[in-house]
């Protein structure tokens, strides 16, 4: 369990009437925590959630399916959007073993930013499949590392097998301005999607 933080919490203005959330997801080490930190107005917070899941395979000793208790660290940040509305950003691990947590996390989410490291695209296949399956509106954001090869967008789209409506954005998630532009582009994509539905 995480230790209690000693700092005084940063309260929301009392005029705020509700909050929305957006997920930041992707494979291990892709930059989720870094992006949440670049966007958040508060020091990012972390909470741990225990999750019981039936693991893969069978226990050698008992012959029963593995039941594993995994601890998932969720880090999240916050942006006060106006006097009435706040936005929470949840860094959400994309590996398959964390999927039991997705039901709670994705309920009510406006959408998800799926961070991709183009040096290891295959690690993103699981989470992209999950987002499609659960019909969570999402965009792909390629996190640019120093030695990231510059793939043409069409090549990335084919390699990731993306539906035509899914945008591919690019960002150095360590850069606060770039992260902010990424978030605006993403929400604008959500707006276009909602317009089409309305």
């Amino acid at each position: 369990m995480v230790s209690a933080s000693s700092a005084e919490p940063a309260y929301l203005p009392s005029s705020v009437q509700g909050a929305v959330k957006i997920l930041v997801t992707g494979p291990f080490g892709v930059g989720k925590t870094t992006l949440v930190g670049a966007l958040s107005e508060i020091d990012p917070l972390r909470t741990e959630e225990t999750m019981t899941s039936v693991g893969e395979g069978v226990d050698d000793v008992t012959g029963r399916p593995h039941k594993a208790t995994t601890t998932v660290a969720l880090d999240f940040g916050r942006i006060t959007l106006s006097s009435r509305l706040a936005l929470y950003l949840f860094g959400t691990p994309g590996q398959q073993r964390f999927w039991p947590l997705w039901e709670d996390l994705s309920r009510g989410a406006l959408g998800a930013i799926a961070l991709v490291d183009s040096r290891r695209l295959e690690e993103s296949f699981d989470v992209l499949g999950l987002l499609e399956e659960q019909r969570i509106p999402f965009a792909v954001a390629v996190n640019v590392f120093p030695d990231t090869p510059a793939y043409p967008e069409a090549e990335l789209r084919t390699a990731l097998d993306l539906l035509p409506g899914v945008p591919i954005l690019t960002c150095d998630v360590r850069d606060e301005d770039a992260a902010h532009r990424l978030l605006i582009d993403f929400v604008d994509h959500l707006r276009v999607g909602a317009l089409e539905l309305s």
Binding site: V2, P9, Q17, L110, R191, A194
Partner: protein, 114 residues
């Protein structure tokens, strides 16, 4: 405030599920101003929740600050809500749809930030 790890089972009185489904990670909490709770009916974690929520914070933030899993916090808050001690502001978005007006409000807010 420092405390050792607490077993979720103990502090939720043996229950592991919230009585209702309404609490989300981004639900906002505020202690009802001036509320007096009987210290015999709440535990020390719940008192800590009431103390922390004297102003507005999300379920996720309160969990992080108190070092509790979100699922545990939800159970504690549920009881406090039943006692009339805490106010819950549900997420701005109804679970099943993403109204255009809300997305536009988010966009306007983000564009005003810098």
């Amino acid at each position: 405030m420092s405390r050792g790890p607490v077993r979720p089972y103990v502090i939720t009185g043996g229950r592991s599920l919230a009585g209702r489904d309404a609490l989300e990670f981004e639900s906002l909490l505020r202690t009802v101003p001036g509320v007096a709770v009987d210290p015999m009916v709440v535990n020390r974690e719940q008192l800590a929740v009431l103390e922390m929520c004297r102003e507005l914070l999300s379920v996720a933030e309160v969990a992080a600050h108190l070092g509790l899993p979100i699922s545990v916090l939800k159970v504690l808050v549920d009881d406090l809500w039943e006692l009339g001690a805490i106010q819950v502001l549900p997420p701005a978005r109804p679970a099943e749809r993403a109204p255009l007006a809300l997305i536009e409000e988010v966009l306007v807010g983000l564009r005003q930030l810098r």
